[in-house]
């Protein structure tokens, strides 16, 4: 599975197109897209970045969470055309190019915070962004559950995901010296 943006391979469609230029994982991309193309489908189908998963397509499950201009958002509740000029980060940008896991990913691994893994990219992006905004968050059970409440896990591995949230903060503190 490639973490690279795939060269232009526009999805066949008779829809009129609108040109969009945006930054995805640090790389500038320009494509002609239908206005109704969701950002989630743009990332997956146009760019080949299939790490962003699609669950409910109405904003409830959180699987498609990406970081849009520095803030986590649902990529199924945005059109690609709205992202013109935006800076998008997806799960593919989180680990280092050499494969070293991000502390949040490392914490998920250590705490066994995933079972089927379908919801994991959304959880990781949500937590990465949450800890960017607040590197020293309230680590009470209630506060962590509030922070995670926008993402659903159907394997119901929530206890381990809460543990991974705490471990992420420990690992990031360690990394910061």
């Amino acid at each position: 599975m490639s973490r690279r943006i795939r060269p232009s391979d526009t999805v066949a469609s008779a829809d009129p197109k609108v040109r969009v230029s945006l930054t995805v994982n640090g790389e500038q991309v320009t494509r002609d897209v239908s206005p109704r193309l969701l950002l989630s489908d743009f990332l997956r189908h146009e760019l080949g970045l299939t790490g962003t998963h699609v669950g409910c397509e109405h904003g409830v499950c959180g699987c498609c969470t990406v970081i849009i201009d520095g803030r986590a958002g649902r990529s199924c509740l945005a059109f690609a055309v709205q992202a013109d000029g935006a800076d998008i980060r997806t799960i593919e940008s989180v680990a280092k190019p050499d494969g070293t896991l991000h502390p949040v990913q490392q914490a998920f691994r250590e705490c066994h915070a995933l079972q089927c893994g379908y919801c994991t990219p959304g959880f990781v992006m949500a937590i990465v962004n949450y800890l960017e905004e607040d590197p020293t968050p309230d680590l009470s059970e209630d506060a962590i559950r509030e922070a995670l409440s926008g993402n659903l896990c159907r394997c119901t591995g929530y206890k381990n995901i809460v543990a991974a949230f705490r471990r992420s903060v420990e690992l990031m503190r360690g990394a910061g010296g």
């Binding site: 829809d15 009129p16 609108v18 239908s34 206005p35 109704r36 969701l38 489908d41 397509e57 109405h58 904003g59 959180g62 969470t65 849009i68 803030r71 986590a72 958002g73 649902r74 199924c76 509740l77 945005a78 059109f79 055309v81 709205q82 013109d84 949500a126 949450y130 509030e146 922070a147 409440s149 926008g150 993402n151």
Partner: protein, 287 residues
């Protein structure tokens, strides 16, 4: 599912947006998209054109001016939630916004979008009605200010006319000493409220309530002031009984039995929420 095809424009000025909207009956404004895009994805709505308001700088920003907080319609929920000046001027706002969906949705959802969407269960209309706020709309016929109680007509229906854009939301500041609270009951945390209540309480020098403002969401086709409950609170002290007010709130429930709750259950909820929010509001009265 995927949306039906629409035309997309993203004008840079408000006037251009109004022209785009006024010229096409099927056109709809696109703000944060957190309510509109799900309805498009499910094809519950199929507008001919979306007029994206994201490039219009005039619709952004939060300013506290005198006794009003002026919030640009395209301000994100999360921006208002975290705004310290707005929080100092009216701490009820942050309480209410904490109940609107989840952080990730609040990162993109807009204040103007939520109010123009006017879901009967939504929290922000309840806040605006309770505080006696208003919205500013601009359209082909010019600009007008609409009081919250005149703005919401029915579930998903407002006073906005075709071509009108909600440009600004005006939330009054809380007078010094005012007690405040918002509570809701939802099936899942972050979901729309089965019932929610906003309470504001002002207390005189003798400790008795002089003015109460109460509004509820989820119990009727629009955010509703609980005027009889407000009246019942006048003269009541913090250690008194809120029972008469709570019972008076029951009659405002008009939502019929649905799969989430019966009318009787919503009546119980609103009565309980009135008691709890009023108790919390009293406890926050600064003397």
């Amino acid at each position: 599912m995927k949306p039906a095809l629409f035309q997309y424009v993203a004008p840079e000025s408000l006037d251009a947006a109004i022209t785009e909207l006024a010229g096409d009956e099927g056109a709809r404004p696109l703000a944060g998209g957190q309510s509109l895009i799900p309805t498009l994805n499910f094809r519950l709505a199929a507008p001919s054109k979306l007029v994206d308001l994201r490039k219009i700088e005039a619709l952004r920003g939060i300013r506290v001016e005198g006794n009003v907080i002026r919030v640009g319609a395209m301000t994100r929920h999360r921006e208002l939630e975290l705004d310290e000046a707005a929080h100092r001027a009216n701490p009820l706002i942050r309480d209410v916004l904490g109940n609107v969906a989840h952080i990730i949705v609040r990162n993109r959802g807009t204040i103007g979008g939520s109010l123009a969407h006017a879901d009967a269960s939504a929290e922000l209309p309840c806040l605006l009605v309770a505080t006696g706020g208003s919205v500013v709309a601009r359209g082909p016929k010019g600009e007008r200010t609409i009081a919250a109680e005149d703005f919401f007509h029915f579930h998903l229906t407002t006073a906005l006319e075709q071509g009108e854009v909600l440009t600004e939301v005006r939330i009054p500041t809380l007078a010094p000493g005012t007690g405040y609270a918002f509570l809701e009951v939802a099936r899942r945390h972050g979901d729309y409220a089965l019932a929610g209540v906003c309470a504001l309480v002002m207390v005189g020098s003798g400790g008795a309530c002089t003015v109460a403002r109460l509004a509820a969401c989820g119990i009727a086709p629009k955010a509703t002031r609980l005027i009889d409950a407000e009246k019942a609170l006048v003269g009541v002290r913090a250690d008194g009984s809120f029972e008469i007010a709570a019972q008076a709130a029951r009659r405002y429930v008009t939502t019929g039995d649905d799969r989430n709750a019966s009318t009787a259950f919503r009546q119980d909820l609103v009565a309980t929420l009135v008691k709890r929010t009023v108790a919390t509001a009293f406890s926050r009265v600064a003397r």
